[in-house]
Subunit: 185 residues, 2 copies
């Protein structure tokens, strides 16, 4: 989000066919809730196009990338790696420290620590747990990587992401108490 | 959640085949983030079983119901109906008032207003917008009903849901900085 160190979301373990919709949800959630970009496996290239088309219509900036080797991508990341997992440490205990680092003046040109947030679909290899700088749990219950990502981003950004502006949007929803209204821009 | 008026989540528009995984995510997110139960369409009965089996293993209380007519179920609901939709009013503006009603001493035996939270899969019929007491948007951007539900519940419960206790769990995850640990109970 504007004025903060970059946050990108990497989706690991995408299984073509089985995970198409959930991978789309991961990407669109990352975009809507303030992340700067998403990285998908090459096998999810169709999903990348869907997410990019939403950005074309509803605005950005939001970067969509694919990689043929998500594990190598994580291993080589310059950012601090945050892995969201039900086996990790409670987000409510650890996020204040992470958020401070993300926002503090540091060695990043953006004034804080950049983040690569990893969310799995199928079982995540153990090397991701070992590589991650933070293994964080949004509850230690089985639920949804989409939900975990949403809570993480909403808390990381302290809700400020809900008021962000969108650039180069062709259309925008006008909030209504009842019904639907979409305007061309 | 314990000590608060009941909150149930109703999933509308489930398309068999296409929405199996996202409907599961809706149900598990509702459970993990403090709702008291989920209501699914009869066509999602397999998903109801999956969610109930998680409750059997990881604890509750959490109710799973199905209905053959979700629209009639919403029309007849005794609770205040909250519809999460990208076309609605911004959650950051409206949730404080809704949360106060949910928590305040009122006519409910639980001390506040009970809620039925409706989340769609496919296009939601206009009658749901009209029936809803609150049409709320977690951003006016297209993303994910799972993400919207997660942010809504985390804010409704003020994060207290992350520290809730689970009853009758056969197993529980022990939080770890690295790796996985699950204990039988």
């Amino acid at each position: 989000m504007d004025g903060l160190a970059p946050v990108r979301v990497l989706r690991i373990g995408h299984r073509p066919g089985r995970d198409e919709r959930t991978t789309t949800h991961v990407g669109l959630t990352a975009r809507a809730l303030g992340a700067d970009g998403v990285v998908l496996a090459g096998s999810a290239a169709d999903r990348a196009e869907t997410i990019a088309s939403v950005t074309d219509r509803f605005g950005g900036p939001f970067a969509v990338e694919t990689t043929d080797d998500p594990l190598a991508y994580i291993a080589d990341a310059d950012e601090a790696v945050v892995h969201l997992t039900m086996y990790g440490l409670p987000i409510q205990d650890r996020l204040p420290q992470l958020r401070d680092r993300h926002r503090s003046d540091g060695d990043s040109s953006d004034g804080g620590q950049s983040l690569l947030v990893v969310v799995g679909a199928s079982k995540v290899p153990f090397e991701v747990y070992e590589r991650a700088d933070w293994n964080l749990a949004v509850t230690n219950q089985p639920h949804s990587e989409i939900a975990a990502l949403a809570v993480f981003l909403d808390r990381l950004y302290r809700g400020e992401e809900l008021d962000r502006e969108w650039v180069d949007a062709d259309r925008a929803v006008v909030p209504r108490a009842t019904g639907k209204r979409v305007e061309d821009r």
